[in-house]
């Protein structure tokens, strides 16, 4: 069996929802042992679906599987003193703790960084929240939509005459997850040098702020407030957007070398090479409606795969518009083994997005998500709880 990058690292994941759990999943994929500590009723993401036949069940949620692959599940009521005693035993052997509670809640349970640091100086303690632990919005309630709104990314997404549009898939959660993951790995490097753990405060809003391409820069350098315009770039790269074609949609991008000649060849109208709209990118950008009068009828008569293949042969960077179905059927992704089938006791065989990147020496692990409390017995036994003790904890609702 190949080695794993984080083999020997132990993570206690107290987080729920999307951001914290996906961060912990990335650590688990890299070989860390991730113990997911859930309240006895389970991470609320277990209730978010999608479920087979639309019948909710805490062990059959698709999103939960996506976010919690390769982890172990331990149920523990951290609102009780007894639950916290068990948690401290788990933390004695842990390298990383991840939590996503409202700021202040962990401290009220005597599980804040300051309260744990003396006893567990090795621990990297990472909080992932919508707006961070400090500042005027620290006590705000948040979700991906609110974070996207405040980040500025929504203002520049969508049609100019309509409401600003949030990107699908809860992107603030995933950006928050990535920044927390990078920060934890950086803190582990730091610990390897100094021996000390530390506290990390990740804000989904600020993670989105890092993603901003040049919008605040346009104000800071030009005084210009960029507005959403069919999700089009302010940078003169028109066209760079999604158009309808005969059997769906296609991303039309001119790229560095597409105009004027290659695009004219692609749409089988070589005479357009001399058209000022093809020659001059500023003109094309500003008189886009005229340009689209030429482009749209041609696209409407052709299929996306044909357009994509021919454009790429001409080295024009067209791209596909894939959805859940066409992603799972995509030949390129199949060749690369991006999706892997996992066997889940409740769901059967399920395709899992398994390889966000590939490492030659330490390939990412592929596994399923745990059933609620699946490893409670095993993990508690490891830290010294006999079967009788475990029964008491179970009967008192601690686990």
């Amino acid at each position: 069996m190949p080695d794993s990058a984080l083999a020997g690292t132990r993570v206690v994941d107290l987080s729920q929802g999307i951001a914290g759990p996906y961060c912990a999943r990335l650590l688990a994929d890299l070989g860390a042992e991730v113990i997911k500590v859930e309240p006895p009723e389970g991470d609320y993401a277990r209730r978010l679906g999608p479920f087979p036949n639309d019948v909710p069940h805490h062990d059959r949620g698709g999103l939960f599987l996506h976010l919690n692959a390769n982890k172990k599940s331990v149920t523990l009521d951290l609102e009780t003193t007894s639950g916290r005693v068990v948690l401290r035993k788990l933390l004695a052997n842990a390298d990383v703790l991840i939590e996503s509670e409202t700021p202040g809640l962990m401290a009220s349970r005597e599980l804040g960084f300051e309260q744990l640091n003396d006893e567990f100086p090795q621990l990297v303690y990472c909080s992932v929240t919508p707006f961070g632990q400090t500042g005027p919005y620290a006590s705000f309630k948040g979700n991906s939509l609110a974070a996207m709104a405040l980040s500025g990314l929504m203002y520049i997404t969508g049609d100019p005459g309509k409401e600003p549009l949030c990107t699908g898939g809860e992107p603030a959660e995933y950006f928050g997850a990535l920044h927390a993951w990078v920060a934890i790995l950086a803190a582990l490097e730091h610990r390897a040098k100094t021996g000390a753990g530390q506290n990390i405060d990740v804000s989904m809003l600020e993670a989105l702020g890092c993603a901003d391409e040049y919008n605040t820069t346009m104000y800071a350098y030009l005084g210009a407030i960029r507005k959403r315009f069919y999700s089009r770039h302010a940078i003169p790269t028109y066209p760079s957007e999604i158009f309808p074609c005969r059997d769906g949609s296609i991303v039309v991008i001119g790229g560095a070398t597409g105009f004027p000649l290659m695009m004219a060849i692609l749409i089988e109208q070589p005479e357009q090479e001399g058209n000022p709209l093809f020659q001059n990118l500023w003109l094309r950008f500003m008189q886009w409606e005229k340009f689209e009068e030429i482009l749209r009828p041609y696209l409407a008569e052709h299929d996306w795969e044909d357009l994509l293949t021919r454009a790429q042969e001409l080295r024009i960077p067209f791209a596909a518009v894939l959805d859940a179905k066409t992603l799972l059927e995509n030949e390129h992704l199949r060749e690369r083994g991006f999706f892997e089938e996992v066997e889940h006791p409740e769901l059967g065989k399920v395709p899992l997005a398994a390889h966000p990147f590939k490492m030659s020496e330490t390939p990412l692990r592929v596994g399923r998500s745990p059933l609620l409390g699946e490893e409670t017995h095993e993990v508690l036994a490891e830290v010294g709880y006999e079967a009788e003790d475990q029964l008491v904890l179970r009967e008192r609702g601690v686990t």
């Binding site: 309630k141 990107t167 699908g168 898939g169 809860e170 490097e189 990390i200 809003l205 760079s240 991303v251």
Partner: protein, 460 residues
Amino acid sequence: MTLPLEGIRVLDLTQVYAGPTCTRILSDLGADVIKVEGLKRMDITRNFVMPENTGKDDYWNRSGYFLLRNGGKRSITLDFGDPEAVDLVKRLVPYADIVAESFTPRVMAKFGLDYESLKEIKPEIIMISLSGYGQTGSWRDFTAYGMGLEPASGISSVTGYRDGPPLRTGISFTDPYSGVVGAGAVLAALYYRRRTGKGQYIDLSEHESAIPVAGYAIMEYALTGRVPERAGNRSEWYAPQGVYRCRGAQTGGGLAEDNWIAITIRNDAEWEAFCHAAGHPEWENGRFGDVLGRFRYHDELDELITSWTRQQDHLEAMHLLQKAGVIAGAVLNPKEVLLDPHLRERGAFDMIDQPDVGVRPVARQLGAKFSAFEPGSARPAPKLGEHNREVLQGMLGLSDEELARLEEQKVIGDTPEGAVPLDVMRMFVQWPTATFQQMGTIAGLDADYREQLGIKGNGK
């Protein structure tokens, strides 16, 4: 204070957005990042966003876009078209721990700079390739732009107005996303090397790295056979949820009528809190009184909510609703983001004094605060070729004569050698902002923006 990557050196052959995001994060964490550009192939983002929109002199050292992702790095110029330049890159490999590149897959092999070749020079080297579609598979040689990869990743299929076409985010979404994924992958490889002494190769497909964001949609198809439809700003789980029009305040040149607030109501208690905060306790009961009604009559509810938000200032409404315990976020425009008190207090922007530009607020590239160290992000971006001598002489020991000869042969230098003459480029990098405003891609132009940002007098 010890930064985690002190003593780590990155040879950075990446350009534009994704790769430079990855290496900027490594640089902020303490790595010495040497960015390699060609005089004939400088980072194209050196052409984007000029201070005061001017293209004078060495404009390529003043770009705001470039500063954002290259602050703190060193810059050398070596053009891969020249065999001698390729040889110099190879001579730098022994001094590096990490080589990062973002060419299309065939390029590095063509120059003899693929992982197999680098490993012969330095067995423990860590190499990361950030490419559009990865190093294998039938799309590997596709030319890829970030603008195309978001739709290809499945995210656009769930982004768009109800009954409307798929839409892209207003940024090249997969670039900053995959850049952060790349930084994490490199850190994981360093962690492994610390334990085993072994390097490795990371094949990062920017396309694949972002597909997990579409995880819910993928699972929905896998478990139910349904392909999710676009839902605008509505939620799969909660109703009502939406982005509602607020009172049009004059916050800049011509910005009236474009203020909005995002609101999510998750349960009865939050609905009750919303109704009372909005001064409409009568909405609480009746057909909207339970979660079923709020899902079923979402359209009507949206009209009702808008009748209230329409009279409200978007920022005041956010505070009012949050105080009542309701999830609400004002939709901030880029100017409001820069002036936001929360982001300011949290230090989301560094004030960077860029030579020949002056002080500007620049967004951080790592959204995390550490108790044991402060990532070193408040540093200017390098001028093109600024560190040629320092690196090629200091590290490789090239003589003054050799450097002069390389400069003569335009292997190294400080002025780009593009196909387009520089005086034409100086015009091109100035954007027709008045026309943009007419078109509507720019909502406002503030002549006094430096006063507004509090940076007047610090710059040139």
